[in-house]
């Protein structure tokens, strides 16, 4: 529990880190689309290899990747379990009244792979891109919307703050949990009601502290005279490099390949 590092930037000097943040944001979307469209086991194998290659290139330790998917494992297990037993089709085995079908296995395996690959892909974005870079990238990508009066600066600021506070809040949860355990609380209750009751001593202080932080942040932002109507200049201007073109090329190739192979 002590090393939850979802959303944590890992500074490194790798090819992936050096890509333009806009490239990485756009390619994350391409990645998600690609995975949703993948429907063959062989293609999943290729995609996993491709992902491992990217992780290798980005010099991200396996443990960090594992930590980013670990929290969602229960959800994955839960959904695949129900897909496994509720999908109708040709039965290949049964325990008591539960029937496992070929289609069920296929759906739950694909679902598991899709969620894992999407989450890993998104964490790679945050592992390799600093928050400032993500904001700059988002702002630049959304800037055409300014014409229609969308407050792009505000939106990107809000997204940044939200991402920035994921590790802060998870640390906070840990701290509150420890404090309640020091008062003899046990969070290992087997009973459902016990579990719900056990959550309150964590949830209430957490919400309270989130509001306290929000107020502090507001004051700090105001003290620095932040004003969304003022166009700010940038210290580091964004610019696409050769590597970005290469990355787009590879991802679009992958995407087209997956789409075409659906029809073969």
């Amino acid at each position: 529990m002590n090393d939850v590092i979802i959303g944590q930037y890992i500074p490194e000097n790798s090819r992936i880190h050096r890509l333009d943040p806009r490239t990485k944001i756009l390619l994350t979307f391409v990645w998600i689309l690609t995975i949703i469209l993948t429907n063959k086991l062989l293609n999943f194998g290729l995609i996993i290899l491709f992902l491992l290659l990217i992780i290798q290139l980005a010099k991200i330790p396996g443990k960090s990747v594992w930590n980013s998917v670990r929290p969602i494992l229960p959800i994955i297990l839960f959904t695949s379990f129900f897909n496994l037993i509720y999908t109708k089709g040709s039965v290949i085995g049964s325990f008591y009244f539960l029937e496992v079908t070929q289609e069920g296995i296929r759906i739950s395996v694909f679902l598991t792979l899709r969620i894992l690959l999407i989450v890993t892909g998104c964490s790679l974005l945050t592992f390799t891109t600093s928050l400032t870079a993500i904001t700059d990238g988002l702002e630049s990508l959304l800037s055409p919307l300014k014409k229609w009066g969308v407050k792009v600066n505000d939106i990107s600021m809000m997204i940044t703050i939200a991402i920035r506070f994921i590790p802060v809040l998870s640390e906070e949860i840990n701290k509150i949990k420890e404090a309640q355990m020091a008062r003899g609380a046990s969070f290992e209750s087997k009973k459902f009601l016990g579990k719900i009751r056990g959550i309150l001593p964590i949830l209430v202080p957490l919400i309270y502290s989130a509001f306290r932080r929000a107020y502090e942040l507001t004051t700090a932002i105001e003290c620095r005279c932040y004003n969304h109507e003022i166009e700010r200049t940038k210290m580091n201007r964004l610019g696409y490099q050769k590597g970005d073109i290469g990355a787009f090329g590879i991802f679009i190739f992958l995407f087209v390949g997956i789409v075409v192979s659906r029809f073969i």
Binding site: N2, A179, A182, R183, G184, V204
Partner: protein
């Protein structure tokens, strides 16, 4: 026989990630029954980590922790029971409060301990009284109290289960001088009335010098000095190397001494300093 002790404990945060951080190395120390100990050290020296090892919230990478000479990480040791014997109050303990009334919050520990509800009232009243608040507070909402009051309510919540060892992380952080005094008075009273051992983590030298019988000095995850306040504050240079300073009154007396007056400079409480200065003043008057 030590009541609580650690033997060569190490602790590392984020092992196996790019953020590895050795927080503690080879820590051995012990607390005796009814001792009032202080732990001082600059920010990041590992104080908060160390105290979480004392009630089994964190498990040391190497080394062992003993309570009443029992290894707390031995198979079958009841860690939950340990947490009622070694009470731990975190920095800003009011941030963990979640109940509508002060009474309910203080009762949380009793509930977790499984104590029958008939006994609650008396224990709660005792606890709120020790921290210097009266019974009218019990029905109030903790979120409406002042900083000093809510801190003492949180303190009562830890004291109510009568821990044999009470460990507090920066109990006076963010309080005004009166609030600080109230907290230390409550601690002294608790120590006397329930014959408990107290360990206070602080980076205010003035506070610990005034109240602690013994001091532990931490620096970069190691214990660099142990002893009575007099012993620790005698060695100013050593203390300053760790980024700490002797109490204000000690500094004052040392300056008076270097200015050529014969005063004792191993004094670290306000009361002793007052007596020493009075002696000096009276002596001078007599000389004339």
């Amino acid at each position: 026989m030590a009541l609580l002790r650690t033997e060569n404990v190490d602790y590392v945060y984020g092992a196996g990630t790019p953020f590895v951080q050795t927080a503690l190395a080879q820590i051995s120390f012990s607390l005796e029954k009814n001792e009032f100990a202080g732990m001082v050290g600059a920010t990041g020296s590992g104080k908060s980590t160390l105290i979480k090892l004392l009630n089994g919230l964190l498990r040391p990478k190497n080394g062992r922790v003993f309570f009443q000479e029992q290894d707390i990480w031995k198979k079958g040791y009841d860690l939950q029971a340990l947490r009622f014997s070694v009470g731990l109050s975190f920095q800003y303990p009011e941030h963990q409060i979640f109940s509508d009334t002060v009474r309910e919050d203080i009762a949380y520990g009793l509930k977790n301990q499984g104590i029958s509800e008939d006994l609650w009232d008396e224990k709660i009243r005792e606890a709120i009284e020790i921290v210097g608040l009266d019974e009218s507070y019990l029905s109030k909402s903790p979120f409406r109290l002042s900083g000093g009051e809510i801190r003492r309510v949180a303190l009562a919540g830890t004291m109510v289960v009568k821990p044999q060892v009470l460990v507090l992380d920066e109990p006076t952080a963010g309080l005004d001088p009166i609030g600080r005094k109230m907290v230390y008075h409550a601690l002294k009273r608790f120590q006397k009335e329930s014959e408990s051992t107290i360990l206070v983590v602080s980076h205010s030298m003035d506070d610990v010098a005034e109240y602690a019988d013994s001091l532990i000095v931490m620096d970069h995850g190691k214990i660099v000095d142990k002893g009575t306040p007099a012993q620790i504050f005698a060695n100013t240079a050593n203390l300053e190397k760790t980024g700490l300073a002797v109490p204000e009154v000690t500094r004052l007396l040392k300056k008076i001494k270097t200015a050529g007056f014969s005063v004792q400079d191993t004094i670290y409480t306000m009361e002793d300093a007052k007596n020493e200065l009075l002696k000096l003043l009276k002596g001078e008057v007599k000389d004339e």
